[in-house]
Every structure is written in structure tokens, then in C-alpha cells.
Amino acid sequence: MSEPVAVKLTAKDFKSDQEVRWCPGCGDYAILAAIQQFMPELNIPRERTVFVSGIGCSSRFPYYMNTYGMHSIHGRAPAIATGLSVSRPDLSVWVVTGDGDALSIGGNHLIHALRRNVNLKILLFNNRIYGLTKGQYSPTSEVGKITKSTPAGSADAPFNPLSLALGAEASFVGRTIDSDRKHLQSVLRAAAEHEGSAFVEIYQNCNIFNDGAFEQLKDPSTRDDYLIRLEHGQPITFGADGRFCVVHPPGGFGLEVRDTSSVRPEEIVVHDATVTDPAYAFALSRLPGLDLRNTPIGVFRSVDRPSYDSVVQGQLAAAKAKVTETPEQQLAGLLGSGDTWTII
């Protein structure tokens, strides 16, 4: 655990020698390239960066990063990463997961990592399908989706990953898209700077089993009218010339989209990711309809809360600060504590 050495790294330094084996055209390639290009910005030595993943297409990610990495078991990456992060606060620990891995088999670990505020950067690649097992519906698939396991259409309602994360007390929640490298990097940058859990949903295209799932958000002819690009401190407007906006109607519980021309400027909500009450970010997370209209991307929420790691390490440090003996002396004292008796 040597001290970090200031060496200027490049994207190439973060590429491992392993052949990347996602399907040609998979959205994961774009995310990998964006992250490899972005990592040098953080000025964290490669040896202090760890990617932990579960199982699924996205979970192959660590093999392709020339950092430390562990490809673990289905759904458990947040739990494994929790043990690593809390015991090694000097590391930058990233979790790469998918919609099935994080929200189905690993749902419990995800919500508990978020409520604890473990210092993890959790990247959820959401393609709304099980890809590695060849095309079953996932917990983010739309109701009625026809897949191999739901020939009559899926019957269960999907999770909204951001709503779930917010309900789990997440201190940082963001969303971005695989195809928009600049935006993706900007959200990751904010996530990396956040102390505590940072949860980032990345819309990712599976061109084999669910191609075009987010097409309206990518197609130049529709995306501007569909996407709401959140910017801290800015009024929330979108569409050509900002023709749509987000307002908080009096008497209502949530946020709604209006024609900008129909409201007074002061009625337009100014985005503030630091609002303590999660209800605001939650309302943002509920804006998109089934057709993906009104999909906010960017940082929904970023609030200060002590990380689990810092609290736990603080307790250890406080206990150790009182120690004046060697570990062996301490141990001898501990073994001989309580009622003892001596036989001569």
C-alpha cells in the first residue's frame, strides 16, 4: 500500500490485455471506452482502483479494466464491495451491475449498500432484458413484454431503479446514456467526487435481445423532445428552444411537464440536486412515461451524509487511539480479563 505516485495516466493505461467479448454493437463497448477515457481524470493510481461486479453481460466489465477487479457471483457485488471498501478506505471501489443483477437477485444488497451509504460508485447498466441468459424479461422490462419466458407478455410491473434507490436513502442518484459519452463522463465525474454511495443508472442498448429500447432518447429527431437534461441551478426546460418545462403544480404531490409558453418563468422548477428531502428527486424520477417521454438525465440528487466507511473507521480509530500497549500485551490483558484464579 505505497503512497500514490503522481503519474499522468491515459485511457490506454486502463485497458487490460483481455480481448473484449461482448456482442458486436453492444452498448457496453461505448460505456467501457468512456470509462477508460475518464479514469485518468480522477488522478487515482490504477492500483487503488477496484471494479467489483456480479454476473451478467455488464459484469464482465472488470476483466477489461487494467485495475484490480473481481468478477463475483450473481447479485452479490455490493456486499463484497462493502467488505472491501469499509476495510480499505484508501481504495476507490466501483460496482458494475445490470438490471437483473442489481434489482432482481441482488436487490437486497443494493438497497442496504445505499442506506448505509457505503463509499461505492455503483454503475447499473440497464438494458431492460436478461442478455447473458439469452433474452428473458428483467425487473425493468415494461409490462406486457414478450420474451422467451413471457410468450404471453410479462405480467409484473417493473422497478423504476432511481425511485428504488431514492427510497433506499441513496445520497447520490444519477442517470445517463451509453451513447452520450460526454454526458456519461460528466455524471461519473460527479459520482466519483461524491463521498458515500453514488448510484448511476446507465441506459444501455442490448442490440441482440432488446434492440432500440432507448431509441427515442438517442434518435436526433426525437431525443431533444424526450430528454430532460438536468443541470444544477438551472431552470428545467427541454425540447427545441426550451419549449417544454417542469413545474410543481400547487396542490399536487409531484412535478409535471408543461409548455413553457403557458407558464410564468418563476413557475419553472430550478434544479437543485442538494435538496435534502428525497421527495423532489423522487418526483423527477417519476416524470417519464411508458414511451420514455420526459426522461431526465443527469444528477438527480447529491446530498452530504457521512459514509458508512468513515463512521466505522472513525470508531476503530477512536478505540485504537487509547491503546498504549503492544498488540501482544493487549491480547495478554484481554485473555486474562474477568474472574481469574491462579494455581501454584
Partner: protein, 615 residues
């Protein structure tokens, strides 16, 4: 009045009452006083899973048995010489275990019509002839306690609750116990409420003085100190010893201990204990579930901690997939299974040894791990160190099979010299190990231990990826090569099979035994006591006890084959016997009991004598 003092060599006392009567505490204090006197001791707590079962009912009875002697003893005793029954339920639940002539001290205040009816007594057993074969001492424990505390500033409820201290005082007088440690204990326990210290001390003294003055107790007993090895002792339960063993493993390895745990009976005490030792750098995480608990421990091991998870059988089942991952990753991991009666929730506060098959085989794929089992409460300390030694040296998961009997039972422990404990220091990888001097091969093995390098994150130049996918030998790259998989599966098996473990030792004082009793884990005491009994009758019998269940001692086959008969008593339906028959082709006799209680020495003795008759 001068009382007669009678010398005894051993006594078994059982304190029994309602779950809320404080019987565990009473037994614990009596044990501590007895330890101070220098007797050898063995204890057996027995309590329901319900925290407060309905008052006065049979399922709500909680008991604590203590066996003490002027010689070395191996078990908490088969049958109590004295029963302290705090209510009719406690009497009814325990009477069948008492030999005729035993002393019964009853709290007459609780023998009300209502309480008698609750447990199905038509008439009070104190008034009819049903207890004629016993020496009954009726004592109005509650009312005398309340009377003794009349001048104290405590509520009636608090006064009544002190009745266990009255009982403890009486028993301490009866058996001439030194009581200073109890007075000190009360001062510590109620430090925040001095009026309760005074009340409890007064109740204790009232009990003591009652013994001294009443004519009902004509005899006072003494049990002289046992001849024990010189040194400093403390009385310790298995769970406490195991916790200290893990702390010691951290000190002796120089690594931080990381415990990931989820609350489960009867293992939670280890989490409680380890969470107190932060000054040793011990980090505890109470995880969201059993899977997260082992996952976090494995993550910490990956980062250079000694990763530990503690649980009971149902928890091991949940952790199984992660243990297999640890097998594939070849990282150190200690899994403590404090076994309880199963399947499913079973009887969570009762003992059993039925997780051996799960420990040996309960994983997908060929996923061998090391398995060890402590033989007594204090042995849990050394077993924990041994588990850590194997895990760290051979970079493997190790399952430590404790059970409820050793976990909650206690015995005197001769404190070890810290410097004499094994040196567990390990070396992390610091530089590339490839022939070219720049490549790092995460699966290049140490030829002696077959362990791979432990290269922890933060080490520059050794960045590498590991995972659950099959890895190519040496490079650790993903590999689907058939020959490589065959090689890796065999290597993982060899890694465990070639761990050097001490030869099994046979105890055969006569030297001519033709029957060997083989046990493992917590049955050591009862088997040892039974063998003593057999030998006292002039018969020869040999005893051997397994600590390492995977791998097994190299000389085991030879030892087994040198006897005409091998008997394997287990608190399961023959799991070790099955392994022994399969591995060594020895026609072992399997003797089983699954009653949630340890074997009694007497029943084992009878079984062994039957076998001896037919040799």
C-alpha cells in the same frame, strides 16, 4: 448451631426456573465462585428459544447445570445431585433426570394452585407422596427475599426479582463457595443503580444466613480444589473462547480481523464479543443477510484482512455459493458454524452435529474446503487459531464446526502464554512473479503449500482480475480449456488434501484395547467420561478424537484398521461414520442420538460395554 461438614469429590447442581427467573445468571455466578475455589468444572445451559415464554409453563423452563469436582472432569454430568426448582414447571420438567435420593430445593411461594394447574399437577407434589424418594427442602424463597429487603429502597418487583440471589446465597453456603467474586459482579452489573447492588447483596446474604441457621439444612459440603496444572485460569464458554481465538489470530498474523455476520442463535454472541474489540482493529459488520455477511468477509479478505463469518446451519446453507466463490478465488476465509438442531429452524437453542455433511460437501461443483471442529469450550480458542492458520497459509475457506453444547457450555481454561501461540504472519505479494520480471501471475502457486500469491489492491504493478469463471493455471485468465479445467479441479482438491495436519492420537492406557471409539467435535467429553467408566470396570477401550475433518490425519486409516471394532458416536445419523466407511473401508459401528442434548456418559458407557461383549 454447628453444622456437620461432609467432603464430596464431585457434585452436579441444576438451577431451574422460569425464563425470566435469572437461572442462567445464577448458574454462571455459582460457576465463577466454584472456579475461584479451584474445582474442575463443566457447565450445560439449557434454555428455550423464546425470550419470555409464557410464565410458569413447561416450555418456559430455563436451566443451568454445573458439575464440579476435586479431579478433572469431562462433562457437565449426567444426573443432578441437587435440583433448585423455582416453580412447579421447573420441578416437573427436570424431575425425570434426578436420581433417587437427590436433593430438591423448591421455592414454595410459587407452588400456588394456579401455577400447579398450569403444568397439570392435580395436587401439589410437595403435599403428596410423589417426591418420597428425594430429599425435599421447601423454602419460601420469594417471601423470604422480599422480607429481607423490607428496609431497602426497591420496588416489590425488584425485591422479588432478587430471589435468584437468595437461592445463590443458599447454595453458596451449602457448598462452601467463596462469594467475593459475586459481590464484585453485582457491583459492576448494577453500577448505575446502587440500590439494586445493596438489594441483591442483601438477598444473597439472606440466602447464605438462612442455610447457616435453618435446621432443614443439617449438612454443609466441601469439594476440595482439583489438582490442576499450575497457571492462571478463567472460566470460559466456547463462544467467548472462539471470539478470543479470532482476536488472537489477528494479533498473531498482524492482519485486521473482519467479521461479517447476521444475527443467528447460537452464534450471535461471537458478533457481540468481537464488536467490543475495536482497539485490536477488529472490524465487525452486521450485514443485511447471511449472504452479505460472507460476501463482505470475502471482500475484506481480498483487501488483505482476515475475513471471518459466523453463523449456524441455516446461515451456512445461504452462504454456500459465496464459499464456492472463495474456493475459486483461493482467498482466506473462516466460516464458523455453531451447529444447532435442524433441519430448518429446528431447535435453535439445542445442540446437534448434523452439519458435517454440509461442511464437507454442501457446495456446487468440486469445491473442497478445510473443516475443523473444537472438542470443548476452551478448545474453541485454539480451533479458531488453527482455522485462521490454515485459511491464511493455504488461502482457502475453512469451516469451523462448533456446536451449541461447546458454544454455551463452559470450563476452566489455563490461559496460554501469548508468545507461545502460533505465528500466523503472511506475506503479501509485492512484485511481479513471472519469469520476464514484469508479468504478474495470480495463479502461480507456491510449490510447497500450493497457495497462490495474495496480491492485495493498492499494490502497484500487480493489478489483476479474478473471478468465478474458471481460470487458466498460472495466469488466472478466463479459460474454457478442458485439460486446464481438469487440472484446476484436481489442484484445488490436492490443495486441501495435502494440508499437513497432526496425526490422530489414541488414548489407550491399558495398551491392549481391541475396540476404538472415534469421535469428533463436542462429543469428546462424554466419550472420554464413558471410556473412563468402562476402564474402571476393568475393560480396555481406546479413544481417538478427530479435530481435522478435512483433510483427515494421514495416520487415520492405519489407526482404524488396527482395531477389531470401531465405534463412532455422533449427534447425527452417522455422518462421520459414513465418511469413514467410504474412505477407509472400515466397518464402523455408528451410534447416534439426535435429542438436542449432549450424550450422557452413562448411556455411552452402556453402549460401549455392549460392543465389548461381542468382540
Amino acid at each position: 448451631m454447628t453444622k456437620q461438614i461432609r467432603q464430596l469429590d464431585r457434585v452436579v447442581i441444576r438451577f431451574a426456573g422460569d425464563s425470566g427467573d435469572g437461572m442462567q445468571l445464577t448458574g454462571d455466578r455459582f460457576t465463577s465462585e466454584t472456579a475461584q475455589l479451584g474445582n474442575d468444572i463443566s457447565t450445560l445451559p439449557n434454555f428455550p428459544a423464546e425470550i419470555r415464554a409464557p410464565a410458569g409453563t413447561l416450555p418456559g423452563v430455563s436451566s443451568f447445570q454445573v458439575h464440579f469436582a476435586d479431579y478433572d472432569i469431562l462433562t457437565p454430568g449426567d444426573a443432578p445431585n441437587v435440583l433448585v426448582a423455582m416453580n412447579p414447571a421447573a420441578l416437573k420438567a427436570n424431575l425425570a433426570d434426578l436420581p433417587r435420593g437427590a436433593d430438591i430445593i423448591v421455592n414454595t411461594d410459587e407452588f400456588t394452585k394456579r401455577n400447579l394447574a398450569k403444568v397439570g399437577y392435580q395436587t401439589s407434589p410437595l403435599d403428596d407422596d410423589s417426591l418420597a424418594g428425594y430429599v425435599v427442602h421447601p423454602v419460601a424463597l420469594t417471601s423470604m427475599t422480599v422480607g429481607a429487603l423490607a428496609a431497602h429502597q426497591v420496588s416489590k418487583k425488584d425485591a422479588e426479582r432478587s430471589k435468584n440471589m437468595f437461592a445463590l446465597g443458599l447454595l453458596s453456603w451449602m457448598y462452601s463457595r467463596p462469594f467475593e467474586s459475586t459481590l464484585r459482579f453485582l457491583e459492576r452489573k448494577f453500577a448505575a443503580r446502587p440500590e439494586l447492588v445493596a438489594a441483591n447483596v442483601a438477598a444473597f446474604k439472606a440466602g447464605w444466613n438462612f442455610g447457616e441457621t435453618t435446621e432443614d439444612f443439617a449438612v454443609r459440603y466441601e469439594v476440595k480444589p482439583a489438582k490442576m496444572q499450575p497457571g492462571t485460569y478463567r472460566n470460559i464458554t466456547g463462544n467467548a473462547a472462539l471470539s478470543l481465538g479470532l482476536v488472537a489470530a489477528g494479533v498473531r498474523s498482524g492482519l485486521p480481523v473482519f467479521l461479517g455476520a447476521y444475527p443467528i442463535t447460537p452464534a450471535s454472541d461471537i458478533l457481540h464479543e468481537l464488536s467490543k474489540h475495536k482497539r485490536f482493529g477488529v472490524l465487525t459488520v452486521q450485514a443485511e443477510d447471511e449472504i452479505a455477511a460472507v460476501g463482505a468477509a470475502l471482500g475484506a479478505s481480498y483487501g488483505g484482512s482476515l475475513g471471518v463469518t459466523t453463523t449456524s446451519g441455516p446461515g451456512v446453507a445461504l452462504k454456500s455459493e459465496t464459499i464456492s466463490l472463495a474456493v475459486a478465488l483461493e482467498l482466506p476465509l473462516v466460516i464458523v458454524d455453531v451447529q444447532r438442531a435442524g433441519p430448518s429452524t429446528g431447535m435453535p437453542t439445542k445442540t446437534e452435529q448434523a452439519d458435517l455433511n454440509m461442511a464437507l460437501y454442501g457446495r456446487h461443483g468440486e469445491a473442497p474446503v478445510a473443516v475443523i471442529a473444537p472438542r470443548s469450550p476452551s478448545d474453541c480458542f485454539f480451533a479458531a487459531l488453527e482455522a485462521a492458520r490454515i485459511a491464511l497459509t493455504y488461502r482457502t475457506p475453512v469451516i469451523l464446526l462448533s456446536d451449541n453444547y461447546v458454544a454455551n457450555g463452559s470450563e476452566p481454561w489455563l490461559l496460554p502464554d501469548v508468545e507461545s501461540l502460533p505465528d500466523l504472519r503472511v506475506e503479501f505479494a509485492t512484485k511481479p512473479n513471472g519469469e520476464d520480471g514484469t508479468t504478474f501471475l495470480p495463479y502461480l502457486r507456491d510449490p510447497e503449500t500450493l497457495a497462490r500469491p495474495w496480491a492485495i489492491p493498492g499494490t502497484a504493478g500487480l493489478e489483476h482480475r479474478i473471478g468465478g469463471l474458471e481460470k487458466a493455471d498460472k495466469t488466472g485468465d478466463i479459460s474454457y480449456d478442458p485439460a486446464n479445467h481438469d487440472f484446476m479441479v484436481r489442484t484445488r482438491a490436492a490443495r486441501i488434501e495435502t494440508i499437513p495436519v497432526p496425526d490422530i492420537e489414541v488414548e489407550d492406557p491399558d495398551g491392549d484395547a481391541r475396540v476404538l471409539v472415534l469421535g469428533w467435535g463436542s462429543t469428546y467429553g462424554p466419550i472420554g467420561a464413558a471410556c473412563r467408566g468402562v476402564r474402571q470396570r476393568g475393560l480396555s477401550i481406546a479413544q481417538a478424537h478427530l479435530r481435522h475433518l478435512a483433510p483427515m490425519p494421514a495416520n487415520l486409516g492405519e489407526v482404524l484398521r488396527s482395531y477389531d471394532k470401531v465405534v463412532i458416536p455422533e449427534m447425527n445419523l452417522g455422518q462421520l461414520a459414513h465418511v469413514i466407511r467410504a474412505r477407509y473401508l472400515v466397518d464402523a459401528i455408528s451410534y447416534n442420538q439426535v435429542r438436542g442434548l449432549p450424550f450422557t456418559a452413562a448411556e455411552l458407557e452402556t453402549t460401549l460395554e455392549e460392543v465389548l461383549k461381542n468382540v
